[in-house]
Amino acid sequence: MLTIKNLHAQVEDTPILKGLNLEIGPGEVHAIMGPNGSGKSTLASVLAGREDYEVTAGSVDFDGTDLLDLDASDRAREGLFLAFQYPVEIPGVSNLNFMKAAINAKREHQGLEAISAKDFLALVKEKSALVELSGRLRDRSVNEGFSGGEKKRNEIFQMAMLEPKFAVLDETDSGLDIDALRIVSEGVNAMRDAGRSFLVITHYQRLLDHIVPDHVHVLSDGQIVKSGPKELALELEAKGYDWVKEEIA
């Protein structure tokens, strides 16, 4: 599904990713943990196509397509989704018009006709129920006046609407209380299937109690320094990152 080889990336002139390798198969859930400044969010931004980040070496293959060759909107149309750590408020753009434009952009890319109003509303109803997003929130301007938890639920709602092949969740657990964490996780779990993969970026093990990963990786100073099964997350929670750093030193 996704193969990252020797990825180097920088912001302005500061190198952040320094030779990152990662292979994610279809249907797999991978978690990336790591201390602040290790490059977790940079990885999410580089994958999604944020222009402030410059890739200086390496490659990212997405189902046979050179991902780095595409701009952000093309990546999304190819089936990549980024759940933002800080979802953006866009006053005046209604959440539903936004989703309709996004769905139709993808359908056009796939050679399909624009979605009918009836089908669209049915889809909205189904997917918003998944993350308990009320009609009041759905119909408002994108994220405007949403609480932290509502914004994250809106991210998962958008993911459910767009049905990506591969989703990156960038610290989706940050700012969530226990209930919101459960709702968001259930939304993600409902979307897990054999053809869809996830990359879950988090600081804390608690998210991984809800979204149980197949593989856990530790990112440190721009490289993946340790990989293991889901139990690795528990070990990190108990011992901290210094333990890994010492091990690789």
Binding site: R50, A76, V93, F98, H109
Partner: protein, 425 residues
């Protein structure tokens, strides 16, 4: 005579003296020699110098030969309205459709003069010609326009569309309109100006309005002119107690536009809404000068102007709000927001508040920014292409101006024209 004045007088030498509005024309002619031709040195014209307009002299069009077949008299699909149409400042009577009803006088201005409906000495409410050289030029050469008078309590059943079309090269038009809305009467007016590719010259329009006690006047004003027309417009509306005056001004397209809008509240309990939007591109220039004058207590005003400036276009917003000494308990709001979409574009924005009363609520804000790159990336990250994402943001930005139009059909047509022009979906 200075070189600038010589140029200005050569510019207007081909204009025909106003035929039916003689006393005003005489005052205008006198004022043209007394008043200075505005230059960059004048604060009010600093960002809209007339120099580019004065390069090529203009002339009054000869008597029209009927409404052009390829131009719809009503450019707004679905709008059910009375209609007065003007070609280069002249009313084309056979293409008009005006109401005949008790308590309603809706006729061409020259007819109203001829019928003695405008009293001697009452030809001019705005005194524009005493203040501005361009006002004097208008007065000296004023042509024809709409005369609408509603007796008290009359509610006009349909809006009146005033469609002014400019055609030909280096043509000067000086349309003039008068709206008097009696006590508790109500009227909606759509002011639409158009011009085809290749048209050029000057439109110098004046609208005077009086809104009676408890009356309502709403105006949807749309400027959609191709070609190279210099468009000067002045609206001057006075309000009696408990009246409402609303005007939405949208410049869809215009080579060079200067809108000067004045609202004066003379009666307490009045409410004024002045909203507008401008989206110039290429090297277009759009200037909105507004004056909101609160002279009496217990009045409110809401002013909202939004602009998006593309390419190498330039914009001006100057919003004056006066709260006079007696205008206690005024609630005045003014907001001007601008997006400078391209590096070559610019906006000169200047809110001016002069408050002499001490128990008032006045808020104002003025912003100049660029597209929110973070929001753009967010939209793009969901698969929406760059151009479509920008269009969504632009529509959202000016949406609160467009939604306030009196006539939905006008708002829809404006949105459609903007979508075509800017490549929105």
């Amino acid at each position: 005579m200075s070189a600038a004045n010589e140029k200005a007088h050569a510019f207007v030498a081909g204009l025909a003296a106003s035929a039916g509005l003689a006393p005003l024309a005489e005052a205008g002619r006198q004022a043209m020699t007394d008043l200075p031709v505005p230059t960059r040195k004048s604060e009010r014209w600093k960002y809209s110098p007339l120099t580019p307009m004065l390069v090529t002299p203009v002339r009054t069009a000869p008597a029209h030969e009927g409404w052009p077949k390829d131009v719809p008299t009503n450019p707004i699909p679905g709008l059910d309205a009375y209609r007065i149409v003007l070609l280069n400042g002249q009313v084309v009577a056979e293409a008009c459709d005006l109401p005949v009803a008790d308590g309603v006088v809706c006729i061409p201005l020259l007819q109203a003069m001829a019928e003695g409906r405008i009293g001697a000495g009452d030809e001019d409410w705005s005194a524009y010609h005493t203040r501005e050289w361009v006002g004097a030029v208008h007065a000296a050469h004023a042509q024809d326009g709409l005369f609408l008078s509603l007796e008290s309590g009359v509610v006009l059943d349909r809006p009146v569309l005033v469609h002014h079309h400019t055609t030909g090269e280096n043509v000067a038009s000086c349309p003039r309109h008068r709206l008097q809305v009696g006590a508790n009467a109500e009227a909606e007016v759509v002011l639409w100006s158009s011009a085809p590719e290749g048209a050029s010259g000057m439109v110098n329009a004046v609208l005077e309005g009086k809104v009676g006690a408890g009356a309502r006047l709403g105006v949807d004003k749309v400027q959609h002119e191709h070609g190279a027309v210099f468009h000067l417009a002045h609206e001057h509306v006075t309000q009696d107690k408990d009246s409402t005056f609303r005007i939405h001004t949208v410049t869809v397209q215009g080579h060079w536009v200067r809108n000067e809008l004045n609202a004066l509240q003379h009666g307490s309990g009045s409410h004024t809404i002045m909203h507008g939007a401008y989206l110039p591109k290429g090297q277009e220039h759009v200037d909105n000068h507004t004056t909101m004058d609160h002279t009496v207590p217990h009045c409110t005003s809401s002013e909202l102007y939004k602009g998006i400036l593309y390419d190498r276009s330039t914009g001006v917003f100057n919003g004056k709000v006066f709260v006079r000494e007696d205008a206690q308990l005024t609630n005045a709001y003014q907001q001007n927001a601008n997006i400078v979409a391209d590096a070559g574009a610019s906006i000169n924005a200047k809110p001016e508040l002069e408050i002499y009363a001490d128990d008032v609520k006045c808020s104002h804000g003025c912003t100049v920014g660029q597209f929110d790159e973070e929001a753009l990336f967010y939209l793009k990250s969901r698969g929406i292409a760059d151009r479509a994402a920008r269009a969504l943001m632009v529509q959202a930005f000016i949406g609160d101006v467009l939604e306030g139009f009196g006539q939905d059909e006008v708002a829809q047509e404006v949105e459609g024209l903007l979508a075509d022009r800017h490549g929105w979906m």
